[in-house]
Symmetry: C2
Subunit: 193 residues, 2 copies
């Protein structure tokens, strides 16, 4: 089909790029297929040519964020070496993935609802957080991280800091380069000189 | 009036405690006076006896959070001493105020809209953040904080970490005691042992 189309040609990926913007703007619950059709400039039936419906678009969009995040845990630097160094790698890369996949991670972080897809996304997100918490606990047990902050609490504060970036970061903004590095500095060594 | 009432007697403060719960549950825009009347178990006209309407309730609720936050900046420990020590006091107390006034600060952090009250709240919140950013910049200038993280970025990450507490903290939860202390440890000295 795509070969025959002109400026309204969509792949699933480019349709997803439009969709994720609408979901983040109006909320998943507040978005209708009509809204997506209008934003994409194609008919609803053209959208149904690509996907079964709104929930499949949500699954593909948050799946993209989740795949990028879980991909971090499979990187060599996350798998070998001291726990603290593996954790530092994961923290830096999590911030980088958030910046690189900003609209997709933003959508993931806003998932709250009760559809099967939303429940699945919440569960995978908890699984990711849990794996990072375990890495952090291992680094504490190895004496590489301070023992006076409970690992689960430290993980929550760490993700609180990283995830808050979606609230203010705008692509191309003046903080672009230093954000992931600043997160690592603050998280591991603190602000004190 | 209150003297004559039985179990439905409300002061502005106790009415506010009910209201802030409903606002946080349904969103300010999604809450009607009817919803508030039902939640409080009193008639709408009884509510109008206390306040002019929904927007005044919002102003009183976020005002309570803002007064508590600005009160921190007026505490002796925030006004004298080294900049870094003043900042540490402000960070610890901000986390403590968030925990003590959880529903009110939660509501403040969710304000997004376009009413005069919401604009006023956003502006006062920005003013608070700005004053903390200036304290942080002063501590950097004095060589008390690391200079390789831009002060405005450091402030954003710091507030990102603190404000994220409203997403998971439940009063009486097992982290109750250590939260503000953990924030200070992480922010100033980092997680590294």
């Amino acid at each position: 089909m795509a070969e025959n189309s002109t400026r309204t040609a969509y792949t699933v990926d480019s349709l997803l790029a439009v969709t994720v913007g609408v979901f983040n703007e109006r909320g998943y619950d507040g978005t209708s297929m009509e809204d997506l059709s209008r934003a994409a400039g194609i008919s609803k039936s053209s959208i149904y040519h690509h996907v079964r419906g709104k929930e499949e678009l949500l699954k593909l969009a948050v799946g993209r964020a989740l795949d990028a995040l879980f991909g971090i845990l499979a990187e060599p630097e996350a798998l070998t070496g001291r726990s603290v160094d593996r954790l530092e790698h994961v923290v830096r890369r999590t911030a980088e993935v958030l910046l690189a996949e900003l609209p997709y991670v933003t959508l993931l972080l806003r998932v709250r609802g009760n559809t099967a897809t939303e429940q699945w996304a919440l569960e995978r997100r908890r699984d990711f957080d849990h794996q990072v918490a375990e890495l952090l606990a291992a680094a504490v047990a190895a004496g590489e991280l301070r023992a006076d902050v409970e690992p689960r609490l430290a993980t929550r504060l760490l993700f609180g800091m990283i995830n808050s970036i979606v609230e203010w970061y705008r692509p191309g903004g003046k903080h672009a380069d230093g954000v992931a590095e600043a997160v690592v500095h603050l998280a591991f060594d603190g602000l004190r000189a």
